[in-house]
């Protein structure tokens, strides 16, 4: 006979469970993950280069893992900091998943590394759905991308703990409307902070490291409205 069986299972339950386990394992190792999301070319690697140098200067143990569909260019750029860096090639996958990341973090980096910055695949759609066991989720948007990005990618911006506008050194040249951008972020993620930075000039690059360390130390991060409901 034909039967209807109520399953009521979250499709991403497997990833969420893996993320929860990874979060616990990392905590036991004294490590926090910062998950960085943006469109291709928004300046993730440039900002992370600045964060790694700052971390070094301040004596903070940090590492970076960068995920791309192809090429090791980003890892080569980040490795110039002298800190531990790992390149992950996703073999066609447009996002990282928790069990993949867990595999790459097995035994790496050394115990008591405070921060691991994870540069997700450049893509504002797919990575948003996958919890990676991070302590802080940061979404970047460069001044050249248009003020309506938060409205076009509401899940990405709506789930951010922190939003950072990059390439502010050219904001004036491209006519970036900061107030409009902030209003759009507020619409999809009320109460989230929006910080401004330029990896080129160094302006504002300290914010990410400060926030990452605060979150690693247990300071409560912003709770997005969208993160409250699931499945």
């Amino acid at each position: 006979m034909c039967r209807v069986v109520e399953l009521q299972q979250a499709v991403l339950a497997g990833n969420d469970a893996a993320a929860g386990i990874l979060r616990g394992e990392l905590a036991a190792r004294g490590t926090s993950v910062v998950n960085i999301l943006s469109s291709p070319g928004s300046g993730k690697t440039a900002l992370l280069e600045a964060e790694l140098l700052l971390a070094r200067e301040r004596g903070v143990t940090a590492a970076a893992l960068t995920a791309d569909l192809a090429t090791e260019n980003d890892a080569m750029r980040l490795a110039r900091s002298g800190l531990p860096v790992k390149q992950v090639l996703t073999d066609g996958l447009c996002h990282l998943e928790a069990d993949m990341l867990a595999g790459h973090l097995r035994g790496w980096p050394a115990k008591d590394t405070r921060l691991v910055f994870v540069e997700n695949v450049g893509n504002l759609v797919c990575p948003a759905s996958y919890d990676l066991g991070e302590t802080l989720r940061v979404v970047l948007a460069s001044v050249t991308e248009g003020e309506d990005k938060p409205l076009k990618y509401p899940t990405a911006f709506g789930l951010a703990h922190l939003v950072i506008v990059t390439k502010t050194d050219i904001a004036e040249a491209v006519g970036f409307d900061e107030a409009a951008f902030r209003a759009n972020v507020e619409q999809v993620n009320p109460g989230v902070d929006v910080a401004l930075c330029s990896a080129r000039t160094g302006a504002g690059t300290g914010v990410l490291l400060d926030r990452a360390l605060a979150a690693a130390d247990g300071t409560a991060v912003h709770m997005p409205v969208m993160a409250q409901a699931r499945a």
């Binding site: 006979m1 034909c2 039967r3 209807v4 069986v5 109520e6 399953l7 009521q8 299972q9 979250a10 499709v11 991403l12 339950a13 497997g14 990833n15 996958l93 447009c94 996002h95 998943e97 759609v125 797919c126 948003a128 759905s129 996958y130 938060p150 409205l151 076009k152 509401p154 899940t155 990405a156 709506g158 507020e186 619409q187 999809v188 993620n189 009320p190 109460g191 409205v225 969208m226 409250q228 409901a229 699931r230 499945a231």
Partner: protein, 130 residues
Amino acid sequence: MHEMSIALAVVDQVGEAARSQGVTAVRTVRLLIGELAGVVPDALAFSFELACAGTAVEGAGLAIETVRARARCAPCDGEWAVGVPPRLACPLCGRATVELVSGRELRIAAVEWHDDPADPGVREPISQEG
């Protein structure tokens, strides 16, 4: 597109449930997808067919029900459809004291299958009369 990953997760979970009940043919998989789940239903339907191939779920239909996103502001006692892109600040007080009631669902609600091995079930030829 991550719809392929989502489809594979659905097929995995349904296949597992079917196996545990000794079911060999799944007729329909019912999914609930919230407007804010970040999943495109058409892309998912396309991926689902590919993901089913060669599994216990092969041949199953996919029924997707979209769930409207709604939010509530407790202090104002108001509830509204947030739309897409969503308006998540309270339209009455403008504050961020908002709770999302629905819209992030990405859930296998139910499956339909034949669980009697003696009954082939699926579309038996209708006997021709006259």
